[in-house]
């Protein structure tokens, strides 16, 4: 038996790692990956709640399903944009993209 708090804690940690990644990594692919990590954390939350939460029902897993597919779609679009960006600028270093500022 595992207390749900642990799952939630794990999720929280993953979420924060992902967030940290978004904020500090310079490789755009990794930044997108970090976003995925955050979404994963969300999924863990949802599934955990749906399975061993205070109110048990399947809805959470349905929700998870949606989140996963949305995440996939986002990754697809994100990478597409990434590629276009690379074609234009020849770099996927986050730091280098500051044409728009002030």
């Amino acid at each position: 038996m595992v207390s749900i708090n642990l799952y939630l804690a794990l999720a929280a940690i993953l979420f924060c790692i992902g967030l940290y990644g978004v904020l500090t990594r310079r490789h755009l692919v990794i930044v997108l990956a970090s976003v995925e990590l955050m979404l994963n954390a969300v999924n863990i939350n949802l599934v955990a709640f749906s399975s061993i939460g205070p109110v048990v029902n399947i809805t959470g897993q349905v929700f998870t399903l949606f989140v996963i597919s949305v995440a996939a779609a986002e990754v697809a679009v994100g990478l597409a944009i990434l590629i276009a960006l690379y074609r234009n600028k020849g770099s996927i270093d986050v730091i280098k993209h500051d044409l728009l500022r002030w």
Binding site: V22, L23, T24, V94, I95, R101, W102
Partner: protein
């Protein structure tokens, strides 16, 4: 006829309006308009005077303004005093109008000159006819305006422009005092009408200190207008104006308005001994002060100007010491002989091509008979030689001063009388006797100028006779319906004394400037310091410049800096800060998406933190 007294000021007004619009086409002929108008006014005022002596009177008022429950009215009324004044003003004005026709005929703006004269006559007559002190004040200001315009008539002369401004400003100072006095008076008595005011004062509705304050404020106005010390500085400079103007405004009528004001408000002054004292002392100081300056001045017009100041001081002195009739009587006689003197001076100046320094004249006696004789009459009159007008009135003044009981005032009066005689004849001997020291050979002027002189000379001789110890015509007339207390009358010794000092003064002048028995520089060499002081008019102008003008301008400059740098500076600073803050915020948008994320996180945390602190979480 007296019901139409209001027409008296209207004629000159009409003249003014006509000249204002069509004057530029009339040019020279403008003078006829002015002269006709004044002639009509003169006839009318003579009629009015006789009817007034006959005991008739007339008053008419209309509502002027209403506020709250109180209403101010405007109109006219005829009293003995202003009946007399009407004559004085119209006579002198008329003569000046005539005189100017010749004197100004070279000037191409003569029509403007006559329109101004018309406006002035209108204002002065309106002032005289006023039934309440507010209306008096209104016309009081208008005559001030006219004086400003006429002094600055030759505006292209910088001195003239400056003199005009100085005249207006200096009198303005007094006027504000007067205005405040009026307002206080109104708030105290609830009316501007003379009658209502005096009855309220007698009924004791106004407490004594207030009366004193009001009286002094009003007197301040008189000080400004009548060029009393310390506001006398404008009058000598005002001589920059055309000489007829000096004769009319700055000798006979306007400057006398101050005295007239005090006369009109006399019951109020009587109600406050302090005020009376102030009046008396101001008068006395002014009298001797101006006389001393006149002793050494060499500009014919300025000598006369100082003499005017001194004489006005005399009148004030008389009024201040209870000599109501004496003061006003002297006002009248002075109007005639001082106008005479000024016009005479004008005639002289005209003859010597606008030179005014008496040292460049001399020997005019043989060259300009009429002018010289009339001028001599005027001089004798002012010196107080019987039976000329000056003698009677001046003697009244001395009597009042003596009766006032203040020996100091009396002494001053006597000394001044002596000086008057001296400087007048210093002027006369220097300018009219001896040999001519100028370059253009002068000769007698046309009739247009000499006739007015003669008329005035005649008046200067006879005017005194209406109020002699042998027959107090004027006194009875004036005292008909005002209660101004006991009027002093000089005894014989006083008459003898005044004659003596007059003769003494003349003799001294004769000895110094005609006979040369006493060297001219006897005194100057003895007291060079005093002489210098007098020459520089006690450095009054310099003093005022240092004490009032320059500090004010300095303060203005300071405030201007303050306004630009501090008051407006703050405004601009706020604006600038806003933009700078905006800029600094904008700099955070450095194009780094990670910065954006970070800002969101930190910002969010901060907001929450603030919120929690405000809402008092965390304990």
């Amino acid at each position: 006829m007296i019901q139409n007294a209001w027409l008296i000021p209207v004629f000159p007004l009409i003249a003014f309006i006509i000249l204002l619009f069509v004057g530029r086409f009339l040019k020279e002929k403008a003078s006829y308009v002015g002269i006709t108008a004044l002639a009509l006014s003169f006839i009318l005022s003579v009629l009015v005077l006789f009817e007034r002596i006959g005991g008739e009177t007339s008053t008419y008022v209309i509502d002027w303004i209403t506020f709250g429950s109180s209403t101010i009215t405007m109109g006219y009324e005829v009293t003995p005093l202003n009946a007399m004044m009407l004559i004085v003003v119209t006579v002198v004005s008329l003569l000046v109008h005539v005189f100017s026709k010749e004197y100004m005929h070279e000037d191409d703006r003569i029509h403007v000159f006559y329109s101004y004269l018309g406006l002035f006559s209108f204002s002065m007559l309106g002032l005289v006819l006023s039934p309440n002190i507010l209306q008096l004040f209104i016309f009081w200001e208008l005559v001030g305006l006219c004086s400003f315009l006429l002094v600055g008539f030759w505006y292209f002369k910088p001195e003239a422009a400056a003199a005009a401004k100085k005249a207006f400003l200096t009198t303005r100072i007094g006027d504000v005092g007067l205005l405040i006095g009026l307002v206080l008076l109104f708030n105290a008595t609830g009316s501007f009408e003379y009658g209502a005011i005096f009855s309220a004062v007698e009924a004791g509705l106004v407490n004594d200190t207030m009366i004193t304050v009001i009286a002094i404020c009003i007197f301040l106005g008189a000080v400004g207008k009548s060029a009393q010390f310390p506001l006398h500085v404008w009058l000598p400079d005002a001589m920059e104006g055309p000489t007829p103007v000096s004769a009319l405004i700055h000798a006979a009528t306007m400057v006398a308005a101050g005295v007239y004001l005090v006369g009109v408000m006399y019951p109020l002054f009587l109600a406050s001994s302090t005020a009376m004292t102030v009046v008396a002392y101001t008068g006395a100081i002014t009298a001797i002060f101006a006389a001393t300056i006149a002793l050494v001045n060499t500009d014919i017009k300025r000598i006369l100007a100082y003499s005017t100041i001194s004489q006005l001081g005399f009148m004030m002195l008389a009024l201040g010491t209870g000599g109501y009739v004496a003061g006003l009587f002297h006002l009248m006689t002075h109007a005639f002989f001082k106008a005479l003197l000024f016009l005479g001076a004008g005639s002289v100046i005209y003859a010597v091509h606008h030179r005014q320094d008496i040292r460049e004249m001399g020997g005019l006696w043989s060259r300009m008979k009429v002018t010289s004789i009339t001028f001599l009459i005027g001089a004798l009159a002012i010196a107080g030689i019987p039976p000329l007008a000056g003698f009677w009135s001046k003697e009244g003044v001395l009597a009042a001063a003596w009766e006032g009981g203040d020996i100091f005032l009396f002494t001053i009066a006597v000394i001044t009388a002596f000086m008057t005689a001296f400087y007048m004849f210093r002027l006369f001997f220097t300018a009219f006797t001896g040999k001519f020291r100028g370059d253009h050979e002068p000769h007698e002027n046309k009739k247009l100028m000499t006739v007015p002189l003669s008329v005035l000379a005649f008046l200067a001789i006879v005017a005194g006779l209406i109020n002699t110890p042998f027959g107090l015509g004027l006194e009875n007339f004036l005292l008909q319906d005002v209660n101004v207390g006991y009027q002093a009358h000089g005894e014989l010794w006083l008459a003898v004394l005044s004659i003596a000092i007059a003769v003494g003064g003349i003799a001294l002048a004769w000895a110094m400037y005609y006979k040369g028995a006493i060297a001219k520089d006897t005194f100057t060499s003895k007291f060079p310091g005093v002489h210098k002081l007098l020459l520089n008019k006690y450095y009054m102008d310099e003093l005022y410049a240092k004490v009032f003008v320059q500090p004010t301008v300095a303060i203005g400059r300071f405030f201007w800096e303050l306004d630009r740098n501090i008051v407006d500076g703050i405004v601009n600073f706020v604006g600038a800060t806003t933009r700078i803050t905006g800029r600094s915020f904008a700099k955070r948008h450095d194009g780094q998406l990670q910065t954006y994320g970070l800002v969101s996180i930190i910002g969010g945390l901060v907001v929450v933190a603030i919120a929690f602190v405000i809402r008092g979480y965390f304990g």
